[in-house]
Symmetry: C2
């Protein structure tokens, strides 16, 4: 039996796995994130220390530029590496390598929120050193990481030197044709400097282009070294604390590194905040922060945990995913969750629609304060979104397709600016937050502008076509293997929901006449009739199908092996927009229509996107394709832990993580939030014996357990109102209600799938 709270590595011999392991063992608290490279793990692939929101920026160079293109790139910048610690015994360096290592092991404890390294190794004289290091990034603090080293020292060692460092990293330019990797930045505009503030050395990382400066500093404390001599070195390449003495049988090193950032012209305040944080932290014993972290995680798992019986691997990956979502997401209203969280520089640290569509629901249902913070971030960038819409001659607001600080950074508009659905993704995130939590205060804090701005945008973007309705031409949906098309189904459907929700929630907050127009436009929006297959867009079904039979396995992902035009020209999908739409809005189409759609699109979807599995899985589950649904559940669930796309070394796939949660809620529970209330249509997958979780609904807590063909609802606090399979239920606090689950058709079902 595996421990389903523990991610462990004890084999370090396959160095080809280093990048993957560094990503998997990423730690963070939503503000600060450290990849799992560490002095004990040799040959780091990408040393990474990131602040969520600290970036460099510069002018995008285009092969051919035109009006309205995004002006500047933004890219997350790795900060000085504070992990470094080296030891010397009797003047000889202690080297941990394959020859000397007796034992090496690391454990990421999801339950407690820390990582512990254990090791034993021999020095040149065969003496054995045993120790362990605890790594902690407290959620209770801002940008601080703490390390506690314990090392047992052989008796014959007379002198021990510890060198603890905080070192700047030089960046190399990454020349690549892979649009998923950062390519612009050669690091030349980052200025490193070292300064001393009231005897405290501080490293400054000034990003000339963005006007931001990050600062960091460290404290080192040792125990167990007698006749201690300490030295400190500093220059623009880093800080070194050197501690030398005569060791007892055990020595301790408590290392604390704090990071913060701000506008370069507000330097003094940032320094003062940083030193206060560092000082406060260094004064607090390590074990106290460990305990605070445990308490924090207790509360977190009390709300967020999902227990699964019947598949230990699934249980572990699910917890891993929910843990990494927490670690990756900002909680202070000034930042959100990047496509790769804080685990790498892939996708440049940008926020996409992934944040609201794939991750936000998890926080809405389990941790509304974090969901609120994510939405506050979007509200904070409304001025940029309004400016962007204006520059593009549109009314209302247009959120950037990818950004850190709110400015559009997508350098390829057919799969950037044209993905206007970002507007409804964000707006419907806000709507879901309000409908689920009942917290309408966000409306007064900027939410009105967000909802009204997106509604106005859609009214301006579309145009009325006689005999068809209100149409959106030249848009790109989520599927990036099709671009610049007319009436993308997902876009049209979300725009309608956006308009209807804005009209519903803004009653009395905008002019009645405007609300009336929104409702009218919403109802006029063109959606294809229920017949045949719902077309992804006006022209999709006329195109030739991709020749999957003659496409070699090595030619996937297609985007790296075929020109965009060849991909756009064919019926081939990175992710299926119609399936995504029917997964998120299951009551929109009849079961028959959804089945026709699913059967059709399943054949032409490559799964080249890590965002596709959950949508296909949810819809498959709704349609009774249990085996396939389970396969997709495993795909989204294990994307990172099992490196299913082979690129985890560039960073984690936060959308796939969020997708694994969505598959349980939207899929297995069949949960839907509508203006009329909360709707459950649950079913337990055949591979599971039991599934149990908590949802936070309107300040109440609802526990739902599926087991033995029963659905058991229990209200943890307050009275919860909802629908079970269409039946209206009102459940007072503490009460339990059980329902028999409808027996599901369980056909062994295998669809034709692209040969990959």
């Amino acid at each position: 039996m595996i421990n389903d709270w523990i991610i462990e590595q004890s084999d370090f011999s396959e160095t080809g796995q280093n990048g993957l392991m560094e990503s998997l063992f990423t730690m963070g608290n939503g503000f600060l994130g450290l990849r799992g490279d560490f002095p004990l793990a040799p040959s780091p692939v990408e040393k990474g220390t990131f602040i969520n929101g600290f970036f460099e920026s510069g002018a995008i160079t285009y092969g051919e530029k035109a009006y309205g293109y995004a002006d500047n790139w933004q890219t997350i910048v790795s900060l000085p590496d504070g992990k470094g610690v080296e030891f010397e015994a009797d003047g000889m360096p202690l080297v941990i390598d394959r020859k000397s290592t007796v034992n090496l092991n690391r454990v990421l404890n999801l339950r407690e929120g820390n990582t512990i390294w254990s090791f034993s190794f021999t020095d040149g004289e065969g003496r054995i050193f045993i120790g362990h290091v605890t790594v902690l990034i407290p959620f209770s603090r801002k940008g601080t990481v703490r390390f506690l080293w314990k090392l047992s020292i052989p008796e014959s060692v007379k002198s021990l030197t510890i060198k603890s460092s905080l070192q700047t990293l030089k960046k190399e330019l990454n020349e690549t044709d892979d649009p998923r990797l950062p390519g612009h930045f050669d690091g030349s505009t980052i200025i490193y400097s070292a300064l001393e503030v009231k005897t405290q050395p501080v490293l400054a990382v000034r990003a000339e282009g963005s006007g931001l400066t990050a600062l960091c500093s460290m404290e080192n404390k040792t125990e167990g070294l007698m006749e201690l001599q300490t030295e400190r070195h500093m220059d623009e390449s880093g800080l070194w604390d050197v501690m030398k003495g005569s060791p007892g049988r055990e020595i301790l090193l408590e290392k604390t590194v704090s990071y913060d950032y701000g506008q370069t012209d507000n330097f003094e305040t940032v320094i003062s905040d940083l030193l206060q944080e560092l000082d406060g932290c260094a004064k607090e014993p390590f074990y106290k922060d460990l305990e605070t972290q445990r308490n924090y995680m207790d509360r977190y798992w009390g709300r967020a945990d999902i227990t699964i019986d019947g598949d230990e691997e699934a249980q572990l990956s699910l917890r891993y995913n929910l843990f990494q979502l927490l670690q990756s997401t900002g909680q202070d209203s000034g930042r959100s969750i990047a496509a790769k969280g804080l685990s790498g520089s892939g996708y440049e640290g940008h926020y996409f629609w992934d944040a609201e569509t794939y991750v936000l629901p998890f926080f809405i249902y389990t941790n509304p304060a974090i969901a609120r913070s994510m939405l506050k971030y979007r509200i904070s960038i409304l001025p940029q979104a309004e400016k962007r819409a204006g520059r593009l001659s549109h009314k209302g607001i247009l959120f950037p397709w990818r950004t850190i600080d709110g400015e559009e950074c997508s350098a390829y508009f057919p799969a950037g600016t044209a993905q206007y659905h970002i507007n409804s993704d964000v707006a419907l995130g806000l709507v879901k937050y309000i409908d689920v939590t009942g917290d309408e205060s966000l409306l007064e804090e900027g939410g009105v502008g967000l909802l009204a701005g997106t509604a106005r945008f859609w009214c301006d973007l579309g145009s009325y076509v006689e005999g068809k309705g209100f149409c959106f031409h030249n848009v790109t949906g989520p599927d990036e293997y099709t671009a610049i098309v007319d009436n993308n189904y997902y876009t049209n459907l979300c725009a309608r929901e956006n308009l209807l929700s804005a009209a519903r929630l803004l009653e009395g907050k905008v002019a009645e006449e405007e609300r009336r127009i929104w409702m009218q436009r919403a109802l006029e929006i063109y959606l294809p009739p229920e017949e045949g297959v719902t077309p992804q867009d006006d022209s999709f079904l006329q195109k030739e199908k991709w020749d999957f039979v003659n496409t070699d396995k090595s030619s996937y992902p297609l985007l790296l092996h075929f020109h965009p035009l060849n991909i756009y020209r064919k019926q081939v999908l990175k992710q299926a927009d119609v399936v995504m739409a029917q997964a998120l809005f299951p009551s929109e189409l009849s079961v028959e229509q959804k089945k026709r759609n699913f059967d059709y699109y399943e054949q032409v979807t490559t799964r080249d996107s890590s965002l596709s599995a959950c949508a296909q899985g949810i819809s498959a589950f709704h349609l009774g394709y249990e085996e396939l649904a389970w396969e997709y559940f495993n795909e989204t669930l294990h994307t990172d832990r099992k490196d299913l796309h082979g690129n985890v070394s560039h960073g984690l796939h936060t959308a796939a993580m969020g997708g694994s949660y969505l598959m349980i809620i939207n899929g297995f529970l069949g949960f839907e939030v509508k203006a009329e209330g909360f709707f459950f249509n649950p079913a337990l997958p055949g591979n599971l014996k039991r599934l149990s979780l908590n949802l936070s609904l309107k300040n109440s807590n609802l526990n739902i357990t599926l087991e033995n063909d029963r659905a058991i609802y229990k209200s943890g606090s307050g009275t919860v109102q909802f629908y079970h399979c269409g039946e209206k239920i009102s459940l007072p606090e503490g009460e339990v209600k059980q329902f028999a689950l409808l027996p599901k058709e369980k056909k062994a079902f295998t669809l034709f799938r692209p040969k990959i």
Copy 2:
């Protein structure tokens, strides 16, 4: 009455006109081109000396790159300036400026192919200097320009110094959002050096990226200086010959500058060719080259001239255009005609579809040897076109949208690679050449590969749609205000003609089965039914019309003021593809259909492209919209001479020049070349009294005159067979045949036009 062979400038006071004048007074011989900047004209805007085909190249930087994007840019590089000549009288520089100038004038003589400057000015002591300079770029030579200065010297001048130079020009990086201007190149990879070869100084311009080196050298000879002392200076910034002596009453300076280029690793051969050319030229008296040029121009105008009675301005602009087309087009099978000829670095010296669609017919009808050379250039780049098709996973060949040496250089694929019609534009150019000249030898010299390669490409690109036919998805037609659409009418129609012509001309040269497939595909190609308006593409007519009423005049051209998506989303055209198609293939649609199309598209066409006027004009004329046709004729005709787009300073518009010829041939003569023969349906525009020209048809010469409501055909040599208004005519050598012209409806007709 104006002299309709002369372009003259005598007012140099408006310095804002300098750029325009430099472009207009460009001289060249298809290989070498010099803008009209000159020491006598102050404040040059762009000093330009170009070799057609000499370029620098480097990797295109993309904001976001993907598979199959063009790898490298290419840009024409200005060569060392050989125009410079300075004088000193008695140690004081002679400065021609507004204060000192008594008289300044230049004349571009279209008839004789030279430019003559005349001037008189005073020095500081009030002495008057009178002189003139003749500038000649002989068509009979390769890369040589000759200057003959004559200067009368006041008696009191004791000493005269002449400094004649050949100077390198440093380039500044051009940062721009205007995709029509070159933006990549900062000149940093151009290495200038000076060397001496057998006492002859040579300047070398090495373009590191392209591996090409251009070389140049000069010779100076004076007469009329006694006690002549000569000095020569040279370094990497240039060559200077300084000649000093005691002047007689008139001095002469004969300056010859030769340019050539080649692969850098073939340096020695290029130098040897260059010095041979320079030496041969410098030995030939200037007047001999002048005479040879006159003879050349005699022959040229004998074939190419078109005489017009009734509009002197039109006569002059027409001759100007036909002269500049000759000057701009390579004749040695290794180069073609760039979008701006050799008159500027706009569009980077690239060849586009303009060459075959707008310019080639003129040479086919008047100078088939030059047309043959242009097609030989395309044949020479077939290997690159085959490679490009392969890289994009297509069969056959794909010509680059823009290029110098054959490699695709378009950095924006929606208005680049997606403009697949380049393939049929070139192929149908070859077909027209063969059908008009009867010269099938080009087929054996590579033409088979060109025709078969394009035919195979179309078969591979398209796909069969049930109920519709063979369709081309995701293509861009000539109209760049609409991109990546399905079944662009122009593209589909040209692809059909390409396939049919390939099948017709390659009988016995490819497998019968393949010819059969081409014919079958051709007949299956989807073309919309004759009803309503012929849609430019499948979705065009569903889009909203551009709001012309609320678009300010300053917002044109739209591409500089609106995001591409906003333009693509609306019914608004840079040029009208359906109108273009019905201008080039007038018998394809019924008159009623063409009229509906014209009336419709006329309303949504901005004329932001200089390529649009001739197509609209031809179709207008065909439809009896005489007044409008005349307006369009004037637009294409005077584009450059009257600077109608306000950007002639960046270079001439060769397509508009070619368009003015097309308007006469396709429009006024109603001429159509079909497999069945030559068809004339002539009409004389009401604004003209007489129109007369010669056409070279199957080795025969046909003179056509329209006057007094008659069409007069005269066979200059051989028997000519053709159709006049459907009647088959066979005209033996020397015979004349007259026909009454049908009276045309002359309605005063004004269409709604965008408010610009």
